[in-house]
């Protein structure tokens, strides 16, 4: 059996324009990496939005895998921006192989 360890996976929904705010928070939390995936549309309290790349109303998911400790540091950093910047953050435990790299 392959040995796995438990890490936190954090997913942050953000405007494309604000991605750098998120990724620099990740970098400064000492996390080794992140991955960005596209998002097409959504609905929240502010109503419906659609990806309109011409107008820059597109959003993305930034996801990163990190130790619990670093994940908490990141959540702490991002929390103040959640409301003002319209971020959405969720996190959960995952098992990874070669856990030393995270």
């Amino acid at each position: 059996m392959i040995e796995t360890v438990t890490r936190k996976r954090i997913e942050i929904l953000t405007d494309t324009a604000l991605v750098k705010r998120v990724t620099s928070a990740i970098d400064s939390a000492g996390i080794t990496g992140w991955t960005i995936t596209p998002v097409s549309s959504g609905k929240g309290r502010d109503g419906h939005w659609r990806e309109e790349r011409v107008m820059g109303t597109d959003k993305v998911f930034v996801l990163t895998i990190a130790s619990e400790e670093k994940a908490d540091a990141l959540a702490e950093k991002i929390a103040p921006l959640l409301s003002s910047h319209g971020f959405l953050l969720s996190m959960w435990d995952v098992q990874v192989i070669r856990g030393e790299r995270f």
Binding site: D15, A17, D46, G47, H48, V54, M55
Partner: protein, 328 residues
């Protein structure tokens, strides 16, 4: 004016925009892929930039060009003040959102300009090629004024994000592409342009048709979803292009621009940005509500300009120029 208005509504460019509006209101699922829409907007900016540059490479830069540039830049800096006053006073917007919206109305819409040029050319009043440079120069000053209004002078914004924002403002993709293609047009001149004109010139109006179809779809869908926009804001989104258009056209005629260029400057003043400025606002004022500024500029002002105001401004420019000059 009659013929003018009629010509506007038999031009495929405007008709495709109307088709987009109607299709969205009928809740059709017609949609242009986002990558295609983005590609078309880049194409339009590269083409309009190059064409302007080639025109300037022929005509050279003279006093009129500098006058128009100065007028455009001043207008972009100053127009947000009037907009801000109306937005705070009449529409009861808070300082943050009023500043953000004001920035949009001081800046310009490339597609409104391009559509105006098509219509003015059909009417036999083509604007000078240098107006492209005027347009590019008008994109950013309003952003600075808008931010100043939104944040106040002694704003506590972190200097890091201000630097990031200023960089975004001056190197945002539409400014870079417009000015870059303008420079390429000047350098390569008419001879260099001849090689690529089947792509940049012959295809231009057709691409504009499809792009306006998409803009019609987006504008109508956005207004059907709109929650944040009140009738007071909607009123301002009609009043501002009227007021700014009159001011811009009159000033341009007074300073001696030809009819076409004066009308084009009026249209630039009347138009509101929905590409460059929203991107800058998302970075610089993330707390401002895109549901307000995009709906006003894209779903109300933009259709109003395309369908009605360009025609009005063109007629005004003709009337004013006729008064000031002996030759019609």
């Amino acid at each position: 004016m009659e013929t003018t208005a009629l010509q506007t509504f038999t031009s495929p460019v405007v008709l495709f925009f109307v088709l987009g509006l109607l299709a969205a209101f009928a809740r059709s699922d017609l949609a242009i892929p986002e990558a295609i829409a983005k590609g078309m907007s880049l194409y339009l900016m590269a083409a309009i930039g190059m064409k302007g540059g080639v025109a300037v490479s022929k005509s050279g830069i003279d006093g009129t060009v500098l006058t128009a540039l100065g007028l455009g830049i001043a207008a972009s800096f100053l127009m947000p003040f009037l907009a801000y006053a109306l937005l705070k006073g009449f529409a009861k917007l808070d300082r943050l959102n009023a500043g953000a919206v004001a920035a949009h109305y001081g800046s310009v819409s490339v597609v409104t300009f391009v559509t105006a040029v098509e219509i003015l050319e059909i009417q036999g009043k083509p604007p000078g090629g240098y107006m492209v440079a005027v347009m590019a120069a008008m994109e950013t000053p309003a952003i600075l004024t808008g931010l100043l209004l939104a944040r106040g002078m002694g704003s506590g914004s972190s200097s890091q994000s201000t630097g990031e924002m200023l960089h975004e403002v001056f190197f945002n993709s539409s400014v870079v592409l417009l000015l870059g293609a303008f420079a390429i047009g000047i350098i390569s001149g008419a001879q260099g342009f001849a090689e690529v004109s089947p792509f940049f010139q012959a295809g231009f109006k057709g691409v504009l048709c499809i792009f306006l179809l998409d803009m019609g779809l987006i504008a109508a869908r956005r207004i059907m979803d709109a929650r944040a926009v009140t009738w007071r804001m909607a009123t301002i989104a009609i009043a501002l292009p009227l007021i700014n258009g009159v001011i811009g056209t009159s000033a341009a005629v007074a300073l001696g621009l030809d009819v076409g260029s004066a009308a084009a400057l009026g249209v630039l003043c009347a138009s509101a940005s929905y590409i460059a400025v929203p991107a800058a606002m998302r970075l610089a004022l993330p707390e401002a509500d895109p549901g307000i500024y995009l709906t006003m500029s894209l779903s109300i002002t933009f259709p109003f300009n395309i369908l009605i105001n360009i025609g009005l401004i063109s007629a005004l420019a003709t009337a004013l120029s006729g008064q000031g000059a002996v030759t019609p």
